[in-house]
């Protein structure tokens, strides 16, 4: 449809009179259908998060308890997901592992969002720092993520904090770039110019005018960061450069099962399925959020 028609339609849509009252349930259902991606992704994610939070309740045994008499058993009534080579119950390990994996991903998301936003703001606002900061960010982004993480991990040794720090360092440049770009383009907007000319101080401008505009791209990008962080942690653990083996994470469990995957595939596939579902949920949620915030696509619906 051409610009003209879209203008006509926009005018039409903008003047929406209130129709007859619709029941709450029907309204919610209609909303859920319209934003189906957010609903699906969000619900799935919520379920997975709940499961991992409730790990102590849902788990049957201590994930570290080794029962050397029942090693490498396939899934059964006693051990729903089977046991690993040290006799640990996989069901509990997967639950607790999920907790750790999700938590690592979430922490990375929060840390990189906060620090990345800070750096992006500083870079966009203080011109003479901008060049230096962006060069550094470019340099960091030029190193393929896994390798950067490997380099960091190999120097600092494995622990939960180092894993989270390492992966955060990888994700910060992307967010910093995003925020910087958004702020720079927002600064060109007439309403910001108006605020500046009317004498608003820099803090006011940042908090009232610029930051709100960064919220939606930040949220969308952050959801993807959560997913990517979990994947990187898994990959790192899989090759032995990630979460220390004493702490269960999906990546670790799969790494344990590597050598035996042909005979005991469940050790690799079960956590793999959980990870896939989680990443899928986050990705779908992210897509849904992005579509919801994009005015053009919203218009087409």
């Amino acid at each position: 449809m051409n610009i003209q028609i879209e203008t006509d339609l926009k005018l039409a849509m903008a003047l929406q009179p209130d129709r007859k009252p619709v029941s709450y349930i029907r309204k919610s259902w209609a909303l859920a259908r319209r934003y189906s991606q957010i609903t699906f992704g969000g619900t799935l994610l919520l379920i997975l998060v709940l499961i991992s939070i409730l790990a102590p309740v849902l788990g049957t045994v201590d994930p570290r308890a080794m029962d050397t008499l029942s090693r490498l058993r396939p899934p059964s009534a006693a051990h729903w997901f089977g046991t690993d080579m040290l006799g640990r119950d996989l069901y509990s390990r997967v639950l607790y592992g999920g907790r750790n994996s999700l938590m690592i991903g979430f922490s990375v998301m929060v840390i990189s969002a906060v620090i990345g936003t800070l750096i992006g703001l500083i870079s966009a606002y203080i011109r003479w720092l901008d060049g230096v900061i962006m060069r550094i960010m470019d340099g960091l982004m030029s190193v393929p993520s896994i390798l950067l993480a490997i380099a960091l991990m190999s120097l600092t040794g494995a622990s939960l904090t180092t894993v989270i720090t390492a992966i955060s360092i990888i994700e910060i440049p992307r967010i910093a770039r995003l925020i910087r770009g958004t702020v720079l383009s927002l600064r060109e907007q007439p309403y910001v110019e108006a605020a500046i000319t009317s004498g608003s101080g820099p803090f006011r401008i940042i908090f009232r005018h610029l930051l709100p505009g960064t919220v939606s791209p930040l949220i969308i990008q952050s959801t993807y960061v959560w997913a990517v962080a979990m994947i990187i942690e898994t990959m790192l653990s899989f090759i032995g450069a990630g979460t220390p083996p004493t702490i269960p994470s999906w990546g670790n469990i799969m790494s344990d099962g590597r050598a035996l995957w042909q005979v005991k595939p469940y050790m690799v596939f079960i956590p793999g399925v959980f990870l896939t579902l989680t990443v899928l949920a986050i990705n779908v949620l992210g897509d849904g959020l992005r579509d919801a915030f994009d005015p053009r696509i919203a218009l087409r619906k």
Binding site: R135, I136, S142, V143, L155, V268, T276
Partner: protein, 313 residues
């Protein structure tokens, strides 16, 4: 146009410099004695001291970096702690299989993604498009080693069409080389393919909503003409960008893929270096991979010139 190309080439230098500084600087930022890291934990105190002097760790930072950079530019990437061989040699020996894997993976990714992305965009909202979206999101979310294991289960263990593991150099037996590369390249390429496919679809949709498409329709052009002669030409610019940027994930995936399929490339070298805590090798690998990534993106920048006349004139 030539100026643009030169400009782009020159711009890679500061980027690589930052990477070099960063990689070198990591030694000092992280806990532990850099000399011990370079010499290795098994080294004797004399060896550590020798390293300390040779690398100039008792000198100011910029002198050390200067020494190190000098060595770097002359091709000396240090010495492996584990095998005592020069890192540069280790890398040169193993680079071949990794290159095969990376480019094979790239080609497969492109073949599997672009046609489907175009078709999905052309049939927006219909069954194919919906299935396409679901499949790509799913594929995107599965960790690539799981995909690898699945493929091996089906095609190697199950149907026995392809080898489970291993690598045959192309000069020894080209047929076996090809067969052996199919599964690894598929494993590597599939995740990337979903990304490219989605970007292709999005880019095509964006272009198809633009005014000049309406003009083409108004001239009487048929659908294929509009899709390929008009839309694709414009859509390819963002697609190429994403291919360049996403190459990093391909590199990361190669490390894991080589592990699963026992391919003696740089990825395997990385894993060995990790288990031996061989920092000089890791350092060298980071530099080499980064350089490769930067080169790929440089190539993308130069391809733009061919695709977008607005840059040329």
């Amino acid at each position: 146009m030539l100026r643009y190309a030169l400009q782009r080439i020159v711009m890679t230098i500061p980027v690589m410099a930052v990477v070099a500084v960063f990689v070198f600087g990591l030694l000092f930022v992280t806990p532990g004695d850099p000399a011990v890291v370079i010499a290795g934990e098994q080294a004797s105190p004399e060896e550590v001291q020798a390293i300390r002097v040779a690398m100039g760790f008792d000198q100011p930072f910029y002198v050390q970096f200067g020494l190190w950079a000098q060595r770097l530019l002359s091709g000396d990437l240090g010495t492996s702690v584990f095998s005592r061989e020069p890192v540069a040699e280790l890398i040169a020996q193993r680079v071949g299989p990794t290159l095969s894997l990376l480019f094979g993976g790239l080609i497969i990714a492109l073949l599997l993604s672009v046609p489907f992305g175009i078709y999905a965009a052309a049939n927006r909202g219909k069954l194919f498009d919906r299935a396409f979206t679901a499949v790509t999101v799913l594929n995107f979310s599965i960790p690539n080693f799981i995909v690898g294991y699945l493929l091996v289960s089906i095609f190697a263990l199950g149907l026995r069409w392809l080898p489970v593991q291993g690598y045959v150099p192309p000069d020894r037996d080209f047929g076996a080389y090809l067969l052996g590369m199919i599964l690894p390249c598929l494993t590597l390429g599939m995740g990337f393919a979903s990304l490219i496919a989605r970007v292709t679809r999005a880019s095509m949709l964006d272009v198809l909503s633009q005014d000049f498409i309406r003009t083409a329709k108004a001239k009487g052009a048929d659908r294929n003409r509009i899709l390929f002669a008009h839309a694709l030409k414009n859509a390819s610019i963002p697609i190429v960008t994403i291919v360049g940027l996403g190459f990093a994930s391909l590199i990361g995936g190669a490390v894991i893929t080589e592990s699963i399929f026992a391919i003696p490339g740089l990825g395997r070298l990385t894993l060995e270096a990790i288990s031996h805590r061989d920092y000089p090798v890791i350092q060298g690998l980071v530099l080499v991979f980064s350089a490769g990534y930067v080169l790929v993106n440089l190539a993308v920048d130069l391809i733009y010139v061919l695709l977008d006349p607005r840059i040329r004139y």
